[in-house]
Symmetry: C2
Subunit: 143 residues, 2 copies
DNA sequence: AATCATGTAACAATAAAAGTATCATGAATT
DNA sequence: AATTCATGATACTTTTATTGTTACATGATT
């Protein structure tokens, strides 16, 4: 599989939407992400279902933010796009009755769980608003 | 992609080898893992190149442990089998010049790096010998 | 010399995100 | 009311890396 870049892409889009008045079309977003409008709709659908964005059809339609970015965390976005599998590595399950396999899997599972918990904790601690402020700070540095 | 179960599989094999006198053939290992002997050779090749196991051809040949399991960590095995990519999620790189993308990617990258460091630290802290003792303990509990 | 086991190469199967084409639906403009 | 614009939904294909499989060469033991 390729990298799952849905989280990264949606963060990118949300920050752009945050500093843009009015709706943005899937086509415009696709151009920003260098991808296809269908891919955009498919991924944004998760955010819409979670209530983080809204979409309007027809003339002047497109996507709009529908929540407080101060309250929206990276973890929220991660989950909204499918909360996909985090790790490439995983257990084998050839012989669930094999005590050796059980010991191995528990050890690996423990480590992965701990890392996952840390990851979710960190993602949950960053809001989209903070990211947006980080962007502002970076721009000021460049002026 | 499926789960990468190479680490898990090799740990499984090493523990079995640790409590088995004499070499074990790829066929026997394949049976334990419910897979193919070629897959076994392919994966074990990494361990052999790292000097953790040895292989002998011909009659009575097969695979043997060639190191001190007390000194062999899960991280060593992870790296020996290819030290594969850990995370499914990753960054997009549509517009390296886009400051928004940069801010997003840095934030995601920071979180992933921290989780990766934790993962490697934990994997590095567990030796195969410890796993083996964990297996012993489990067996005693069942008697 | 025959057999056994690894080593290697080449290719198919698998899984999940991403890319693409197409058509239906609904809203705004004319 | 008709046209246009934009999303919604479906049904593919492409991509990428592990895994599975077949086939054959190489070397060691009997």
């Amino acid at each position: 599989m390729r990298n799952d870049s849905r989280l990264s892409r949606m963060l990118h889009v949300l920050l752009h939407m945050a500093r843009h008045d009015g709706p943005i079309t899937s086509e415009a977003i696709a151009a920003m992400l260098r991808t296809n409008a269908v891919v955009v709709r498919r991924t944004m659908a998760g955010l819409r279902d979670a209530g983080y964005v809204r979409s309007e059809k027809g003339h002047g339609g497109g996507w709009m933010i529908a929540c407080d970015l101060e309250q929206l965390s990276l973890l929220d976005v991660h989950r909204a796009v499918g909360g996909p599998r985090l790790f490439v590595i995983g257990n084998e399950e050839a012989n669930p009755d094999c005590a050796v396999e059980q010991v191995v899997n528990e050890a690996v599972e423990d480590v992965l769980s701990e890392a996952e918990a840390l990851l979710e904790k960190r993602l949950g601690a960053i809001s989209l608003a903070e990211l947006s402020r980080g962007f502002d700070a970076r721009c000021e540095g460049k002026i």
